[in-house]
Amino acid sequence: MEELTQLVEVEPVVPDPVIELLDVNMEIKRIVEAIIFAANRPMTVKQIQQVFPEIEQPELIEILGAIESITEDYRDRPIELKHVASGYRFQVRQELSRWVSRLFEEKPPRYSRALLETLAIIAYRQPVTRGDIEDIRGVSVSSSIIQTLLERDWIKVVAHKEAPGRPGLYGTTKQFLDYFNITNLNDLPTLQEIQDLDLSLDNAQHILQEESEKQTTDEQDEFAQTYTNIREELGETTAV
């Protein structure tokens, strides 16, 4: 998992938070700020360094100091310097998105449950093949979903499985993390632990037998009930 190992790589940390603000070279800071603003993609500290001409490149630590200082400068402004997976970017503070979203006539894309579930499986279970995804979801995965995810650069083929047909193993990308405004996979919602299965057969048998007895009497009612429930649900949906 190339992506994952990259994620483990942490950017160097500024060692001393007390003196750093004083130490920031103002000219470097100005340039760093301009670079982050001008780049239309998140920029890593390393990438920022390389924008400087070779003989004038500041140390990474200086750039980090500048970033910290800039972050501080924008503390009270409506935009913030945010660290996402592939680097730093300026973005409008989220509490203002309500206003800003009105700028764009086009509605933001909505993603189907099928797509989101596929994406979640790839994110949490990577690397996975399409077959693995289908096993988990219990249905076939349409090619268009995989295609959409690939085109959005949210997933990529990280390797091929040594199996018949050498199916592609999918993993998520940094762009996926960037899109969801996070720096690494750990920032995703926690996946619930799967409860341990303690299915002693006796137990199960017992319960199940009980159930099926009850069922013979209740069956009709249950079915009716379920239909009613579903109908209600449909009523809700179709009403929307």
């Binding site: 409008v92 989101l116 219990g138 249905v139 969801f180 159930e211 429930n229 179709t238």
Partner: protein, 296 residues
């Protein structure tokens, strides 16, 4: 009794068979219009999702699935849908078979432990349901996470006004020579073209003379020669002047008989046209002189 519902062919008229009893029509209060059923199916992301729905409706833990009951309901759904001629994904039917198998197993007397070594289909199903439910719920959470385009907007700063220097392509001399070699080959094939092979220094000098003439109305013939260049240089300049004249790129003229020859670009006549007052005579003299020059 229940397990037979899958295999038994449905009576043609029956909409559904529930517990072995064919339903010839849906009870009034259960009626769901066919297109609504389609919508209903679209609500589910597959058999696991439908099963989860059925289980959650019972308010029971997945681990304690009332398997017989759920199986029954599940199959009833499938059959209703089948009878409504709805296209049902194969996965739904496969699940029906799995459920039926589990149920039949449960009805049989318990087998010996050794036979139970093969995976208990019920355990498998429960694990799959659990895993699917976990994914389903994180997918819902991910959908709620702030994201670009909807909740997050990048700050855009214009850079179009910056003086951005684009790196220019490099050429190797050999690339140009190779290209020219091709040109020459093509020219050879088109025999009506003839590229004379005069020394390059002459051509270069031709450009230089024209360049010099740009700044001035005209130059004295002698101004085009530099003593420092020696004999060779003089020859080159002279050849260049003749060639320029031959190609009608310059005019050689005299202001008056026996005056020193003067050179100007042929284009200068044109510019003088605009100022008829001072140049008309010179122009005529010039063209005469130039034809004389080329006869050398």
């Amino acid at each position: 009794m229940l397990e037979s519902t899958i295999e038994r062919p449905t009576a043609p008229q029956a909409l559904a068979i529930v517990n072995g009893t064919p339903f010839n029509q849906l009870p009034e209060d259960l009626y769901i219009p066919p297109d609504a059923l389609e919508v209903f199916l679209e609500l589910f992301e597959g058999p696991l999702d439908l099963l989860l729905y059925l289980i959650r409706r019972q308010n029971v833990d997945i681990i304690n699935i009332p398997i017989a009951q759920i199986t029954h309901q599940y199959i009833a759904y499938i059959q209703v849908m089948g009878n409504l001629k709805m296209e049902l994904a194969a996965e739904y039917l496969v699940m029906a078979a799995v459920l039926a198998e589990i149920k039949s197993r449960m009805l049989l007397p318990r087998q010996t432990e050794s036979e139970d070594e093969e995976e208990d289909p019920r355990a498998t199903l429960i694990r799959r349901l659990q895993e699917y439910e976990c994914i389903k719920s994180v997918a819902e959470e991910i959908d709620l996470m702030p994201r670009l385009e909807r909740d997050i907007f990048a700050a855009v700063v214009d850079v179009s006004k910056l003086n951005i220097e684009q790196a220019l392509p490099d050429i190797q001399l050999k690339e140009m020579l190779l290209a020219f070699q091709d040109v020459l080959k093509r020219v050879d094939q088109l025999s009506h073209h003839h590229i004379t092979k005069e020394p390059l220094s002459v051509r270069e000098r031709m450009s230089a003379i024209l360049e010099n003439l740009k700044g001035a109305d005209s130059l004295l013939f002698s101004q085009l020669f530099s003593r420092k260049e020696g004999r060779q240089g003089v020859v080159v300049s002279f050849l260049a002047i003749l060639e320029l004249s031959k190609e009608r790129l310059i005019d050689i003229f005299q202001h008056e008989p026996f005056a020193e020859l003067r050179i100007r670009t042929a284009g200068a006549i044109h510019s003088l046209d605009g100022n008829r007052g001072d140049g008309g005579v010179d122009a005529i003299g010039g063209s005469r002189a130039s034809s004389a020059g080329s006869s050398h």
